[in-house]
Amino acid sequence: MANGMRTGPSSARLVLVTVPILVLLVLLPRLVDLYQTVLLTYGLAMAIAALGFNLLLGYTGLLSFGHSAYFGAGAYMVAFIVRDLGVQSMELCILGGLIGTVLVAALFGFVCVRHTRIFFGILTLALSQVLWSLAYKFFWITGGTDGVRVAYAKLTLLGGTINFAGPGSYQRFVHDYYYYVLALFVISTIVMWMIVHSPFGKALQAIRDNEVRAGFIGIPIRRYRWVAFVISGAFTGLGGILWVPLNGLTTPDVLYWPFSGEIVFMTVLGGFRTFTGPIIGAVVFNYLKTYAVASTEYWQLLLGVVLVILVMVLPTGIAGTLARVWAKIAGRNS
């Protein structure tokens, strides 16, 4: 009865689930064509962004409608660093992008965490649209609707040891960059997993469940919400940072509110009450959107229908439903 592992996540099951998935992810570029590898890289970058978003929604109980701001801040920071500072190292881009995103998230978060529920959501939305309008109007800096180009050929990975000059460089970029993003995705997932299972992460869940009582056990609610906000923004920013070289370009679209909606969508799709939900949701959503756009010009309508069905049929998302089915099967066997 008195051993600590029972409430903690079961490590055996964790290994059982994660190892095969990791092996599959590592082998995948050998099994599928270039385009599929690109799509999956997009999915992994979005997964990091959604993981960050869900620290607020799933674990702190705050629904942000403005996470495009941090994705976009990361993306534009990288674009500026490459264009204006002539930096080639992707690691320096990540560092600079994260510093920029954290500053924006710290500033916006400071304002937003003063409120909760719909007021919080509206504030995050409004502030994100300030960034969008800056990117849109200050075209001599941001390129306006044309955005800023980030050519993959100018970038180097791992401190300059991998560069993409010469013939066949795009294939090499797709291949190498996939593993680069995969590695950062794995690190991000581990770090986020540790955060939500740390005493701090538990305190966030306490705030989510019962703000009044959280105060009465001595948790400084507003400060913790702020810290969660900044961490959340940083993860979403990293998603944007990794997304830019892949996309080759950043435009105000990634700062615009419908993109915040997409982040919410993918997280709900995957299931915001589970740790893996946002990851699954981001990858699935990325495929869904890609094929919806390719197959019909009414792709928004298609996604809308999916969202409605989702909320009605699978309110706990893909991951939540899978977990329930799994529990049922496990229950029958025991």
């Binding site: 005493p199 701090f200 538990k202 009465f216 056990i217």
Partner: protein
């Protein structure tokens, strides 16, 4: 030196005098019952002292220090904890996690972001002891939402207790549970609180419970303290009997059933 002292404490809601010039002194180690008819201001007094409500005027001294204008968090740190009449728990977390959160917070560990909560053996061991003390060991991994009402009431108290407070307010810990469970809950709470010599203020309607456990009984009426004293003195106070029961006489407090 007294542990808690309120000086001319006042809290009005419009015309209603919820707390009206209350001067209450609590010594260390006392087990006090706060009684009075509905609306007498018992919960309001508890809310003001625990910083859920700010007083209109007056002072609160805790261990001799003026804490009137401190926040909830600061008062918890100082050593004032409370439970709630309407159960206030972290409903999606297990009973065990509810307790560990209080312990982590007390030890200043909730800011730890790079350690795993479930690997902290000292906190785990302490939480299991607390669960055992409150008879909840068997419900360790059940979410707070999934517990029975009586268990929820106990867990609510256990979370406050796990903060190891100097002063513990218990707002109707037995309300909303059956008479049969009531005695068991009170026995559990009293044995823990007495055993650890925690100064406790309990708001309770059941006078049998009150007479059985209290060192001192404080009777409130219309926001003010009407009478206070040891159980025997209160039992024989006709004015108190009139207000609480609507009748007086030597047997007024004897249970009729």
């Amino acid at each position: 030196m007294s542990l808690l002292q309120t000086i001319d404490l006042k809290k009005y809601f419009g015309e209603t005098r919820a707390v009206d010039n209350v001067n209450l002194t609590i010594a260390e180690g006392e087990f006090i019952s706060l009684v009075g008819p509905n609306g007498a201001g018992k919960t309001s007094l508890c809310n003001v002292v625990s910083a859920l409500l700010a007083p209109d005027s007056g002072k609160i001294l805790f261990k001799g220090e003026d804490v009137t204008h401190t926040s909830v968090t600061e008062r918890v740190k100082a050593g004032i904890a409370r439970s709630f009449q309407l159960v206030n728990l972290f409903d999606d977390l297990s009973a065990f996690e509810n307790i560990t959160l209080a312990i982590f917070s007390r030890q200043g560990k909730t800011r730890n972001i790079a350690t795993l909560a479930h690997l902290d053996n000292a906190v785990t061991a302490e939480a299991d002891v607390v669960l055992g003390q409150f008879g909840l060991a068997g419900k360790r991994d059940v979410t707070a939402r999934g517990l029975a009402q009586g268990e929820r009431k106990l867990l609510d108290v256990a979370v406050a207790y796990a903060l190891r407070p100097k002063l513990l307010f218990l707002d109707e810990p037995t309300s909303g549970v059956s008479t049969r469970d009531k005695d068991q809950i009170m026995d559990t709470i009293a044995s823990v609180v007495r055993g650890e010599r925690i100064t406790a203020v309990i708001i309770e309607h059941d006078m049998d419970v009150v007479f059985k456990y209290s060192d001192r009984i404080v009777v409130m009426h219309q926001g003010a303290i009407l009478a206070q004293g040891p159980p025997d003195a209160i039992r024989n106070n006709d004015q108190v009997a009139m207000i609480l029961l609507g009748s007086s006489g030597p047997d007024a407090f004897t249970r009729k059933d």
